[in-house]
């Protein structure tokens, strides 16, 4: 997984739910590529067509609330988004993000100081977010060691595979 990210910001508000991230009518498919085509469709029709690899989604409180569908972070990852920064995350979405190797960071101050179209650099290991327009750098709390292991392995499946191999 990429530990250093630099990208263009797409900014959304509070309670961006999983039906907004990927409408349920598209849950008859499951690959990141197919899902990415409909990412954010009902709240931002222009997103899927314009998002670039390396871009950053910035959200408010309770980002990813609603369903447990892994299709939501998969759609975001499939769209090429490199990291999601929010004031707070819904717990299943947070867990799913870590599990599939989509970087997610909770940082209310960074969200406060960021607007659509800004350029952000993110250092996942250091937990810092820098807004290139304002020059401000924000610090997030580090992930617990166990969570960081999953992130560095690239997700729960690579982490589990490595563990199984070691246990044998």
């Amino acid at each position: 997984m990429l530990m250093l990210i630099e990208g263009n910001v797409w900014k959304y508000g509070d309670n961006v739910d999983t039906d907004a991230i990927i409408p349920a009518r598209y849950l008859n498919v499951s690959t990141p590529e197919e899902l990415a085509r409909h990412c954010m469709e009902d709240i931002d029709a222009g997103f899927a067509g314009a998002v670039q690899p390396g871009d950053v989604i910035v959200g408010g409180e309770n980002f990813g609330c609603g369903s447990s569908r892994e299709h939501a972070p998969l759609a975001i990852k499939g769209a090429g988004v490199a990291v999601v920064v929010a004031r707070s995350f819904a717990r299943i979405f947070y867990r799913n993000g870590i599990n599939i190797g989509l970087p997610i960071l909770e940082c209310p101050e960074a969200v406060e100081g960021t607007e659509k179209g800004d350029q952000l650099t993110v250092d996942l290991k250091a937990g810092t977010i820098t807004n290139l327009r304002t020059g401000r750098t924000y610090q997030t709390s580090p992930f617990p060691a166990f969570t960081m292991e999953i992130i560095q392995a690239g997700g729960l499946v690579p982490y589990t595979r490595a563990k199984m191999t070691n246990d044998k």
């Binding site: 349920a24 009518r25 709240i43 309770n62 998969l74 819904a90 589990t160 199984m164």
Partner: protein
């Protein structure tokens, strides 16, 4: 210091010793000598049931197959249900169900439920005795929290977590704090579990229980039926909750008797358990509730709804698709007519609920009233099929979410309510209290 219900159940499932379980190694903490856990602890826990459905199983199967594990940890503990887009709504949905079916057959899963023998998963599993008190359940569906009504710790996760749980019989968990909600008072007519939970979400908000377990307690809960308790636990996730639990009592025992496929284990919260918050609710003041678009916390009493004309009513789902819900709807719809401008869709939550509804004479009552009776499916709840909305349309629904576009076009609206308000609204052609039409 004492423990909450969630802490006790998780503690009883903690994997002993350093490191974690290898595939197929389903050690379980002995209930007499297991470690204690505290909120914030990261633990590895054994799971009793691992659940997925036709939209979440395909990813789980794909990830399972990359784990290089031949067989699931225990075929009798892996449950798969074709409920979301089944009977299949299109070719792609048919392919997802086929994939799930093939995996179930290859793995010899005794609990794969297909069209004709299924129900909506969170109605079906308790009904079939597949979840019992004391269980730790993980499911690739956010409403897995429903089983908390049985005094189990049940939580929703994504397909990758479920793939690993299928392979190892274990999952990692951060032990949650608990919010205890105590309901007192005497329920008004037509007020049920759905109204209580909508009121609660309206009070604490869609992230009011974020990362926490909810314990539902108090004399009102003691007197609430299992159907009402399932409804409440089902919507714990709509407040951001990790789980929603009701302590085991005589009502639970009576329900589980004759159904349970395994021996229940009963835990009680300690009197000196520490709660993040205790919320006292005077349930006697609660009217039937409605959650307005587009958040489940946008709740108001039905008497304050104003004049809201509607196009569709859905009575069913994992929230309110059980027999008691259909009884309430039948009581109001029998001998009356669905408003000419309204499409009323009734969805019994399982084949057994459907049969019971039929034998009670309610199917006849529904059809004669001008309502539709569907085979069990999640269908309209998530805008899949069996009642999708066009732009500008409004539905009153006994389902659990009303985010923008939930039931169809982004310019449609969903108003959440219990079966009494839903049935009354179907008759009135607008949001209505049962008193308005009786």
């Amino acid at each position: 210091m004492g423990h909450t219900l969630a802490e006790k159940i998780i503690a009883a499932h903690v994997v002993e010793g350093p490191g974690s379980a290898a595939p197929g190694d389903n050690r379980r903490g002995d209930t007499d000598s297991h470690p204690e856990v505290w909120p914030g602890d990261l633990v590895e826990a054994t799971v009793d049931v691992v659940l997925s459905n036709d939209i979440t199983a395909p990813i789980a199967i794909r990830e399972f197959e990359t784990l290089d594990v031949e067989r699931v940890f225990d075929p009798s503990r892996v449950v798969m249900v074709a409920d979301h887009f089944a009977p299949n709504k299109d070719i792609k949905s048919a392919e997802q169900c086929a994939q799930m079916r093939q995996f179930a057959q290859a793995q010899g899963l005794p609990h794969h439920f297909d069209v004709g023998r299924m129900g909506i998963e969170h109605v079906l599993l308790p009904e079939q005795g597949l979840v019992v008190p004391g269980d730790l359940v993980v499911g690739a569906d956010s409403h897995t929290c429903t089983y908390g009504a049985l005094g189990a710790f049940a939580t929703g996760m994504g397909s990758t977590d479920i793939a690993v749980a299928m392979a190892t019989g274990c999952t990692w968990l951060r032990v949650p704090e608990t919010i205890r909600v105590v309901y007192r008072g005497r329920l008004r007519p037509w007020v049920g579990g759905k109204d209580l939970i909508l009121y609660t979400i309206g009070r604490i908000g869609v992230s009011g229980a974020l990362y926490k377990a909810i314990e539902f307690a108090g004399p009102v809960i003691d007197h609430l039926s299992m159907d009402g308790r399932f409804t409440m636990a089902n919507m714990a996730i709509e407040a951001g909750g990790k789980a929603g639990l009701v302590a085991v009592d005589e009502v639970t025992r009576a329900y589980v008797e004759g159904r349970a496929s395994r021996a229940p284990r009963v835990y009680q919260a300690d009197v000196d358990a520490t709660y993040a918050q205790v919320v006292e609710i005077d349930a006697g003041q609660i009217e039937p509730q409605v959650a307005f678009p587009h958040l489940p916390e946008n709740v108001r009493p039905v008497g304050q709804a104003g004049d809201v004309r509607i196009d569709q009513v859905v009575i069913g789902s994992c929230t309110n698709g059980r027999l008691e819900d259909l009884r309430v709807a039948a009581e109001l719809l029998r001998g009356r007519q669905v408003h000419p401008d309204v499409r009323c869709i009734v969805v019994p939550g399982s084949q057994q609920v459907y049969l019971d509804t039929l034998r009670e004479g309610w199917v006849e009552a529904f059809v004669e009233a001008g309502a539709v009776v569907s085979t069990p499916t999640c269908g309209p709840c998530l805008g899949g099929h069996m009642g999708v909305l066009a732009a500008g349309e409004r539905a009153v629904s006994t389902t659990n979410r009303n985010f923008r576009g939930r039931m169809g076009h982004p310019e449609s609206e969903v108003y959440l309510a219990g079966p009494a308000v839903a049935a009354a609204s179907a008759i009135a052609g607008r949001i209505a209290h049962p008193d308005d039409i009786t």
